[in-house]
C-alpha cells in the first residue's frame, strides 16, 4: 500500500506554473468533459481521418486555438501535438514564444525567424534527413545580403560568425538563425535593427522559407517521419489587447505569407473584438470550460467525475473531510481548471487541521470571490445577472463590456456556446443585489 501524503505535500502538487505533458502522472484527459469540444474536430480540419491518417492537407492552413486563461490550452496543445506527431500524420514542431522570445512587443518577424531557427535545429538533430545545399542557399544568401551588409548589424554578424563551429550547411544555417532569434529574445541593441531588416525584406525571406519548408517536408515524408510539417505556436495568447491586435490583425498578411500548417494560441478576447479574424484564419478551435453545468445550472455528473479525478490525483480523498467538500469546490470553480487549483490551494491555507473541511472550502470560495470583486462594477453585476437569466443568447450581449468580463474571467464561456457568471461571483452581495433588482 502506498504511503499517505500530508496536506502540504498535496499542496505542492497544486502548482500553476507549468503546463503538463501528456505522460505526466498528474495529467488527466479532460477533453470529454468540455461538452461538444473534441480534438477530432481539429484533426478533421487538418484532414486526419478517424483511423489517424492525414490525407492531402491544404498547403496553407492557419488555425487559432483559444480559450479562457488557465483553462488548459497549453496542456491541451501538448496533448494534441503528441497525437499529431506521427509518421501517418504530421511532423510537429513546437514553438513556445514565452521560452524563446521576448513577447513584450512581439512582432510577426520574431516568430517567423524563431520558427525557421527551430526547424533548422530540429532537422539538424534528426537522424536520416539530409538537406542539400540547393535548399539552403536562398536562406543563407538572404542572411548574407540583408543582414550582414546592414551597417548597424555588421558587428552582430561578425560575432555570430566568430562563434560558429561550421560555416556551411544546415548546422551553419541553424546557428545563424538561432543566434538571430536569441538576439530578438533578449533586449539587445540589435533587436530593432533585425526586426527592421526582416520587415523591409520580408517577401524575400518568406519565399526562401516557403521553399525550404516544401523541401524539408519532402525529406520528412521520405524518411517516414510525417506527411507534412505542422507548426504549433504557444504563448501568443498572452498578448494584451493592443499587442494581440497588431500581431493577429494588423500584421496578419505578413504572418500568413508562410505557406505551411500552423496552430496559433490566441487570446479569447480577440475573438469577440475582431470580426476580421475569421477572414484570415481558416479555423478557430475554442477550448471551453469543463462543462460541469448546463445552461440551467444543472450539474453534469460525468464531467464532475473527470474533474474530480484530476483533483484527487493531486489531493487524495483522505485529505477531505468528505468528498462533498471537493464537489463543492468543483461547483464553485465553474469548470475553470486553474480556479479549481486555486480554490484547493486556498482551502489548504485555510484548513485548521490537516485536511480540507467544508469550512475551509467555504472560506476559499469567499476569498476567491473577493479577489474577483476588485474589478467588478455595478454595471457588470447587472450585465452578469442579465446574461445568467438569458444564457442562450450571448450574441445579444456581445460587446466590449462582455469581452472585458470574459477576459477577466468573471464571465465564463461553455461549449454549445453559452455564457454564465463565474459561480464565485454569484456569492457576492453586489451580484445578489443586482439579481434582486432584476427579478423584482
Amino acid at each position: 500500500m502506498s504511503s499517505r501524503i500530508s496536506i502540504w505535500e498535496a499542496k505542492n502538487q497544486l502548482a500553476f506554473n507549468e503546463p503538463l505533458e501528456p505522460d505526466d502522472p498528474l495529467f488527466v484527459d479532460t477533453a470529454k468533459a468540455r461538452g461538444d469540444f473534441s480534438r477530432e474536430r481539429l484533426y478533421r480540419q487538418l484532414n486526419v481521418d478517424k483511423q489517424g491518417i492525414a490525407h492531402k492537407p491544404p498547403i496553407k492552413q492557419y488555425i487559432l486555438l483559444t480559450g479562457h486563461r488557465g483553462c488548459g490550452k497549453s496542456t491541451e496543445l501538448r496533448k494534441m501535438a503528441k497525437y499529431l506527431h506521427h509518421p501517418d500524420r504530421y511532423y510537429v514542431l513546437r514553438l513556445d514564444c514565452l521560452e524563446k522570445l521576448d513577447i513584450n512587443n512581439l512582432k510577426y518577424s520574431d516568430v517567423l525567424l524563431a520558427l525557421a531557427a527551430a526547424l533548422f535545429a530540429r532537422l539538424e538533430e534528426e537522424g536520416g534527413i539530409e538537406m542539400e545545399q540547393v535548399h539552403l542557399s536562398r536562406l543563407e544568401n538572404w542572411f548574407k545580403e540583408r543582414v550582414e551588409v546592414h551597417s548597424q548589424l555588421k558587428q552582430f554578424a561578425a560575432e555570430v560568425k566568430a562563434g560558429a563551429k561550421a560555416q556551411a550547411g544546415l548546422s551553419w544555417l541553424s546557428w545563424l538563425y538561432g543566434e538571430a532569434t536569441s538576439k530578438l529574445g533578449i533586449d539587445s541593441s540589435y533587436r530593432e535593427e533585425l526586426r527592421l531588416v526582416v520587415r523591409n525584406n520580408f517577401s524575400e525571406f518568406a519565399e526562401a522559407f516557403n521553399q525550404f519548408i516544401r523541401a524539408s517536408e519532402d525529406k520528412i515524408r521520405a524518411a517516414g517521419k510525417g506527411q507534412r510539417i505542422l507548426f504549433t505556436v504557444d504563448g501568443t495568447d498572452r498578448l494584451n489587447s493592443e499587442d494581440a491586435h497588431k500581431f493577429f490583425v494588423e500584421d496578419v498578411h505578413q504572418l500568413t505569407q508562410i505557406s505551411g500548417l500552423f496552430i496559433y494560441c490566441t487570446p479569447i478576447h480577440l475573438l469577440h473584438q475582431d470580426n476580421c479574424l475569421s477572414a484570415n484564419f481558416t479555423g478557430t478551435v475554442r477550448l471551453p470550460m469543463l462543462k460541469i453545468r448546463e445552461r440551467d445550472d444543472q450539474k453534469v455528473p460525468k464531467n464532475y467525475r473527470v474533474i474530480q479525478r484530476l483533483a484527487l490525483l493531486r489531493v487524495p480523498e483522505y485529505l477531505f473531510d468528505d468528498i462533498t467538500t471537493l464537489e463543492y469546490l468543483i461547483q464553485y470553480s465553474g469548470g475553470h481548471l486553474r480556479d479549481l487549483i486555486r480554490l484547493l490551494n486556498i482551502a489548504v491555507n485555510m484548513a485548521e487541521e490537516e485536511r480540507i473541511d467544508r469550512i475551509a472550502a467555504e472560506k476559499a470560495v469567499k476569498q476567491v470571490a473577493n479577489e474577483y470583486r476588485r474589478f467588478i462594477n455595478s454595471a457588470d453585476y447587472a450585465r452578469l445577472v442579465q446574461i445568467d437569466l438569458h444564457p442562450d443568447a450571448p450574441d445579444d450581449f456581445t460587446d466590449e463590456q462582455s469581452a472585458a468580463m470574459l477576459y477577466n474571467l468573471i464571465l465564463l464561456e461553455y461549449d454549445n456556446y453559452f455564457w454564465k457568471s463565474h459561480p464565485v461571483i454569484t456569492t457576492l452581495p453586489g451580484y445578489q443585489k443586482a439579481y434582486q433588482q432584476v427579478i423584482s
Partner: protein, 494 residues
C-alpha cells in the same frame, strides 16, 4: 528593515498573518502572493516579522530599482526563499504600465528565477490594475492577503471578565436581556460587534451559573471570530471557554484547548501577557491535579516576570495569590498569609476590585479555619465575602462560601444548622450550575457530617452521596479525590 520594538499586528489581521506565516514555512516551489496594504510603516513591520521567522529572504524596492529589467536583474541575484517586492506605487503611470506588461509577459521567467515565494506588496487600488494590466501574472497568484488598516484606527475594547464579574446580579440580567434582544434583531452576517456581544453574553451566563448557555454562546462567538478570521479574538474567547471548562471540572478538554489551540496562537502573535495568563490557567489545572511543583514553576518563571515587565499590578497580585495557594498546599501558611496581606489586598483595594479582594479574604479565612481560628474565619466569611458575592450575583461563590460557613458551624457544635446549609443552600446551587467538582466536594462533606452525626440512621443517604461523589471524581480523573472518597467509604462501611 527591523520590526519596531512595541509593534503588534492589528487583531483583525492576526488570522491572515498566521496563515501567511504557515504558508511561508510549509509550502514549496514558486508561489506568487499579493499583499494589500495602506500604511508603509505597518507593511514594513509585517515584513520584518515575516523575515524574522524566515531570514532566508530579501526585499526589493522599486523606488530604487525603477524598472522591470532592474527588478529581474536584482531577482536573479537573490538565492533566497522569500522575496518581498515593494513600492510599485512609486513608479510613474507609464513606468507602472510597462512594469505590469513586463510582469505579464515574463511570468514564466520570473517564476523560474524566483523559485520560492514572491510577495508583491500593493496598495488596494493597484491590485485591480495588476489584475487587468498583468492578467496572466495575476492568474498565477496563490492568494491575496489583506493587511489594510481602517482609515481611523479604533481600538476595539475587549470584554473583560472582571468588568462583568463586578456587576451585580440585576445589572447582569439587564445586560443579558439587552444583548439577547440586540442579537435577535441583527442579521446573520458575521460581524465583530455580534461576536464580541456573544462572547460577553457567554461570560455573563457563566457568572450567573448558566454554564450550558455560557458554553453555547462562547462557541458561537468563536465560530463567528473564525469566520471573520480574527485569530486573536478567537484565542481570547477560547481562553474564556477553557476557564469555563475548568470551572466545570472538564480539565482534559480545558488543557487540550489551552495547549493546542490557544498558546500556539498567542505565541505566534507575540501576545506575551495573554500567553502568561493562559500559562496561569495551565498552572491552575496542574495545581488542581496535585502537580504543585510544576504549577509553582509556571507561576514564578512564566507568569510573574511578564506581569512585572509590563507593570501589570493586578495580574502580578493575582499570580502572587496563586503562589500563596501553592504554599498553603505545602503547609507554608505564614508565608502565604504574608503574600495575601501585603501583596494582594492593598493592590485590590487601590484598584477597587471588590471581587478579588473578597476572594483573597476568603483564602486568608481558609488558613485561619484550618488553624482552628474559627471566630476570625467566620467573621471574614460573613462580613467580607458573602455580602460581596451576593451583591455581584455570583451564586457559585456564595454557595462555596456558605459551605465553608457550614464547616465552621459544625466545628463550633451547630450541627443542625450546618446540615441545613449544606443540604438546602449549597448542594442545590452546584447541581443547578452543573459544577461537578464543587458538587462532588459538597456531597462528600455533607456525607461526612451525616456520618459524624449518626451513621446508622443516615446510612442510605451517606451511601448515595458518596457513590455519586466517587462517580464524579472518576469522571474528572482526580486520583487523589478518588482515593480520598474510597477511604471514607471504607470507614463508613466499617
Amino acid at each position: 528593515m527591523a520590526e519596531d520594538k512595541d509593534w503588534r499586528p492589528a487583531a483583525e489581521h492576526s488570522g491572515c498573518l498566521l496563515r501567511l506565516q504557515r504558508l511561508l514555512e510549509r509550502a514549496q516551489g514558486f508561489r506568487l502572493l499579493i499583499l494589500s496594504h495602506n500604511r508603509p510603516k505597518y507593511r514594513d513591520n509585517l515584513i520584518a516579522r515575516l523575515r524574522e521567522a524566515q531570514p532566508d529572504s530579501a526585499v526589493l524596492d522599486l523606488r530604487q530599482l525603477g524598472s522591470l529589467a532592474a527588478f529581474e536583474d536584482a531577482l536573479a541575484q537573490q538565492q533566497v526563499r522569500q522575496v518581498h517586492l515593494l513600492n510599485l506605487e512609486s513608479l510613474r503611470k507609464e513606468q507602472r504600465q510597462d512594469f505590469f506588461k513586463g510582469l505579464n509577459y515574463h511570468r514564466e521567467h520570473i517564476a523560474r528565477t524566483c523559485g520560492g515565494f514572491l510577495l508583491v506588496w500593493l496598495p488596494e487600488h493597484l491590485i485591480a490594475k495588476l489584475a487587468v494590466e498583468a492578467a496572466d501574472f495575476w492568474a498565477w497568484r496563490e492568494q491575496v492577503f489583506d493587511f489594510i488598516l481602517p482609515k481611523e484606527p479604533e481600538k476595539r475594547r475587549y470584554t473583560s471578565l472582571v468588568d462583568t464579574a463586578n456587576l451585580d446580579r440585576s445589572a447582569k440580567q439587564k445586560r443579558i436581556h439587552e444583548i439577547k434582544e440586540f442579537l435577535s434583531n441583527s442579521s446573520d452576517q458575521a460581524s465583530l460587534t455580534n461576536a464580541d456581544l456573544k462572547e460577553e453574553l457567554g461570560i455573563l451566563f457563566k457568572s450567573i451559573g448558566e454554564y450550558e448557555q455560557a458554553e453555547y454562546m462562547m462557541k458561537e462567538a468563536i465560530k463567528e471570530y473564525t469566520e471573520l478570521d480574527e485569530a486573536e479574538s478567537c484565542a481570547k474567547t477560547k481562553f474564556v471557554l477553557a476557564s469555563l471548562l475548568t470551572a466545570k471540572g472538564d480539565y482534559e478538554q480545558a488543557m487540550k484547548l489551552l495547549k493546542e489551540q490557544i498558546l500556539p496562537v498567542l505565541r505566534q502573535l507575540k501576545k506575551d501577557v495573554e500567553e502568561a495568563l493562559a500559562m496561569g490557567q495551565v498552572a491552575d489545572i496542574l495545581e488542581t491535579r496535585g502537580k504543585l511543583d510544576e504549577a509553582l514553576e509556571i507561576r514564578k518563571k512564566k507568569e510573574l516576570p511578564v506581569y512585572k515587565r509590563f507593570g501589570l499590578e493586578r495580574l502580578k497580585a493575582f499570580a502572587m495569590g496563586k503562589i500563596a495557594d501553592i504554599l498553603v498546599a505545602r503547609g507554608e501558611f505564614d508565608k502565604a498569609l504574608r503574600i495575601w496581606r501585603q501583596e494582594g489586598l492593598p493592590i485590590y483595594e487601590r484598584l477597587g476590585d471588590v471581587r478579588e479582594k473578597a476572594v483573597t479574604m476568603g483564602r486568608i479565612a481558609d488558613v485561619l479555619q484550618f488553624r482552628g481560628q474559627f471566630d476570625e474565619a467566620l467573621k471574614i466569611r460573613e462580613q467580607e465575602e458573602l455580602p460581596v458575592y451576593e451583591r455581584l450575583g455570583d451564586i457559585r461563590e456564595q454557595a462555596v462560601t456558605k459551605g465553608k460557613i457550614a464547616d465552621i458551624l459544625w466545628f463550633c457544635g451547630h450541627a443542625d444548622e450546618a446540615l441545613r446549609i449544606r443540604e438546602q443552600e449549597v448542594l442545590p446551587v452546584f447541581e443547578h450550575l452543573g459544577d461537578t467538582q464543587n458538587l462532588m466536594f459538597g456531597r462528600v462533606n455533607f456525607a461526612i457530617l451525616l456520618h459524624d452525626m449518626d451513621t446508622i440512621a443516615n446510612r442510605v443517604k451517606i451511601d448515595k452521596l458518596l457513590r455519586l461523589a466517587l462517580a464524579d471524581a472518576k469522571r474528572l480523573k482526580l486520583p487523589r479525590e478518588i482515593e480520598w472518597i474510597e477511604s471514607i467509604m471504607q470507614k463508613v462501611a466499617a
